[in-house]
Symmetry: D2
Subunit: 110 residues, 4 copies
């Protein structure tokens, strides 16, 4: 990604990693665990987080200014998802991925 | 979509309608109902069906030959999703959308 | 989509129609026409508009509050895309789809 | 991704890397270069390759059997994209990413 500055490249990588982690864990780990892991609000938040991360990466890869415009909302959803995963427990990889992505998006938004 | 033949335009509309129905029902109706509606295998099949329909439409909209190449697999996933929704019950809109999409994709594949 | 209020259902339909129109026209009409239609900035804006509309619809279909949070940015990209399509000319379907989607997203954002 | 076997995890990483490379280069490098890089057929193939890689990864992350069903078509599009990028020249990162993804998808398909 030689055409992108370092902050943008970092945000893309964090956003794709967060997408991978949220989507993968929601559709395997959370569904299999059941109970609090399968609460509708939790699964919807995981899915929303995965989708907004995927799309933020998509726009940033084009070097579109609108990618940066999505960063504040992407960071907010990631923070909300990290907090919900901490509440539920046994979701460490998702907490870490969401926190890192939120940080990278905030760095780009400012 | 004046640039597309009638079969392709129909498949796009059916695929986007099936995406909308499967994704919307999975993330609201199925999660809220719980029980059989929230079985991991059912929710994964709904999500896989929504995603492959979304992508088949995306390629067909570009008039890419690879869109037609996805049609047999899209039809197969739609048929599997329709059958699973019939087994579970109370999923009529999804059964109908999946069957219509499968038919439109089969018409395009041949 | 019986689980959604009327404003949300309208925004989903307008966003998916705008996605279809922008993505389809960019990858066929604009690329074939060349000249101003194929300027990098125009094609990137069309692609960004298609993607953000697709994702706004995805989140709204889940009845996620974060879908509404995307609406102001979705409306802004749609307005920018409509203006650019008017500047370039011969893009009427895209202008109309973008304007309608922007309006539906603004109605939902407030 | 502790829930996935090694071949699947590799295919996911290669598919997301190929998506990133094809989408990013098409929307920046190819559009800026113009000429053969901006031929409609080339850009459509790049976009189709990016999209099918993104979706193959999405289904594989869910551990859906339908992810494996997409692998032969994903490999075919990647091979076609690699060949077209070699023909055009100055597309080495895309050639390499497409070849690696095709190989990982073929390993999973069998």
């Amino acid at each position: 990604m030689h055409h992108l500055d370092a902050h943008t490249a970092t945000a893309i990588d964090q956003a794709l990693f967060c997408y991978k982690t949220c989507h993968g864990m929601a559709m395997t780990h959370c569904l299999e665990m059941g109970g609090r892991h399968a609460e509708p609000a939790h699964l919807r938040l995981m899915a929303a987080c995965a989708e907004i991360c995927r799309t933020t990466a998509h726009l940033l890869l084009m070097n579109s200014e609108h990618g940066k415009h999505l960063c504040p909302e992407c960071a907010e959803v990631c923070e909300a998802c990290a907090a919900d995963c901490e509440r539920i427990g046994d979701m460490e990889p998702c907490v870490a991925a969401c926190r890192s992505c939120a940080q990278a998006c905030q760095a780009l938004a400012h």
